[in-house]
């Protein structure tokens, strides 16, 4: 199948004499519009410096590969399958979406959509159920990125009749044979992913890029909260801001802390409290300001602060 003939590229190939005039990297970068995606990534995602660095590296590699191909230098189809490891709420899914966009702009996937699945979507419940289910998902993901969350659940060594192995085999086959049709991103906790790759060497050797997502620092979490509030068109009073910082400090060390997701949930609950606070205050006009502002009390009422007093 040769549905992906890029007219731009073949023209470049004819013009550029081998070893001839220098190619315009700047223009190629501009034409691909990758810069915009990378800038958006920088602006909308707080922290994650190592992740952003790796994504820039990958984008650069792909761009250079494209130029190499344009002048007829050898460039095998690059291995693009990736593994994102990190704790919950560190932005793996969000980055995967951006990655799909970057790959689409560079022409490595045709459609650039993201299909996010877990074990349940791939593995069937009885014999003969798994293969069609996995193929169905792969069919949907063709031309885009398949994001498998908590991929290690596919492999259950304790149950040798588990159907997960079948799904892995089909995945491997497609990852190998249809590399220009789809890109697979596996995601999950780091230690469990490492075990998964150790026990599935075939999978490990086909995943080219391993990106680790670090936990957020308290300052980054506060910045994330700021961005979320801005998006929801709320704002914190200065006391509430201080309370939120304390909240983050306390919540971070508690169990089941899910980074940005926990922050989002905390803000959602604060909005609930703000709403009922305004509702209680019957009589008296409510200003636009009131509707927007989250007060200290809305955040201080959290369970996180209460437990400390006990």
């Amino acid at each position: 199948m040769n549905a992906r003939v890029d007219p731009m590229q073949s023209r470049d190939g004819q013009n550029a004499a081998p070893g001839g005039e220098p190619l315009d990297l700047e223009a190629a970068y501009r034409d691909s519009h990758v810069g915009e995606v990378l800038d958006n990534l920088d602006r909308e995602l707080v922290g994650l410096a190592p992740v952003k660095g790796r994504i820039r590296d990958i984008a650069a590699l792909l761009l250079i590969d494209k130029l190499r191909r344009a002048v007829g230098l050898s460039s095998g189809p690059p291995a693009l399958h990736m593994s994102f490891t990190g704790n919950p709420g560190t932005g793996k899914t969000t980055v995967a979406m951006r990655m799909a966009e970057i790959l689409h702009r560079l022409g490595y996937v045709r459609k650039g959509h993201l299909v996010a699945v877990t074990r349940d979507d791939l593995v069937g419940q009885y014999i003969g159920h798994t293969a069609p289910k996995t193929r169905e998902v792969l069919k949907r993901a063709m031309g885009g990125v398949l994001f498998i969350d908590e991929a290690y659940y596919l492999y259950r060594p304790e149950n040798e009749r588990d159907y997960g192995q079948e799904a892995i085999e089909i995945l491997l086959q497609v990852m190998e044979n249809q590399r220009d049709d789809l890109v697979v991103i596996l995601a999950g906790y780091r230690d469990r992913m490492e075990t998964f790759f150790r026990s599935n060497p075939g999978m490990s050797s086909r995943v080219a890029h391993h990106i680790d997502f670090p936990d957020y620092t308290p300052e980054e979490l506060a910045a994330i909260a700021g961005l979320m509030l801005q998006e929801m068109q709320y704002r914190l009073s200065s006391e509430a801001d201080e309370a939120l910082r304390q909240y983050i400090e306390k919540r971070r060390v508690q169990p089941h802390f899910a980074n940005a997701r926990s922050i989002r949930n905390a803000l959602d609950r604060a909005r609930l409290r703000q709403a009922s606070r305004l509702f209680e205050r019957k009589g008296g006009a409510i200003s636009r300001q009131d509707l927007q502002t989250i007060e200290e009390s809305d955040i201080r009422a959290s369970r996180v602060f209460r437990e400390q007093h006990d």
Binding site: A3, L138, K139, R140, G143
Partner: protein
């Protein structure tokens, strides 16, 4: 005798790349593509057997092509066609349908004459292929 049904049927058989391009055209218009097969190509046999389910959420031709190739593997000597269904309100019908696989030898049709009362003659056509039972025709 070469069966001519659906779009492109007077053209030489489409290559896989050409089929993929047609699929891209359908998907770009949000038509749901489905694969059907049969071994009874009579023109009045409108509804063929559906292979798998119609692909409502496939975004790329490569996804449909995997289904097409699976169908070709299962029924190498059957007629296979691609249908593109347009779900737009008021339309809700097929927009495009074309044959993508045919048996190596197509025996063609027999013209059957039935003599009626007086000097009436009724005509009907029948595929030679249907002399044998389903599944053993090609």
């Amino acid at each position: 005798m070469r069966i001519t049904q659906g779009t492109f049927s007077f053209l030489p058989d489409l290559s896989d790349a050409q089929i993929a391009k047609q699929i891209e055209y359908c998907l770009a218009r949000n038509w749901a593509v489905s694969v059907e097969y049969t071994d009874d190509p009579h023109p009045r046999n409108t509804y063929w057997e559906l292979f798998g389910t119609p692909m409502f959420d496939v975004r790329d031709a490569a996804g449909v092509m995997t289904e097409v190739n699976a169908c070709r593997r299962t029924f190498p000597n059957h007629y296979i066609k691609l249908n593109a269904f347009d779900s737009t309100r008021g339309r809700e019908s097929l927009r495009l349908s074309f044959i993508i696989n045919r048996p190596p030898a197509e025996p063609g049709f027999d013209l059957v004459r039935q003599e009626g009362p007086g000097r009436t003659v009724r005509y009907t056509t029948r595929t030679y292929a249907t002399e044998r039972p389903e599944g053993e025709r090609y």
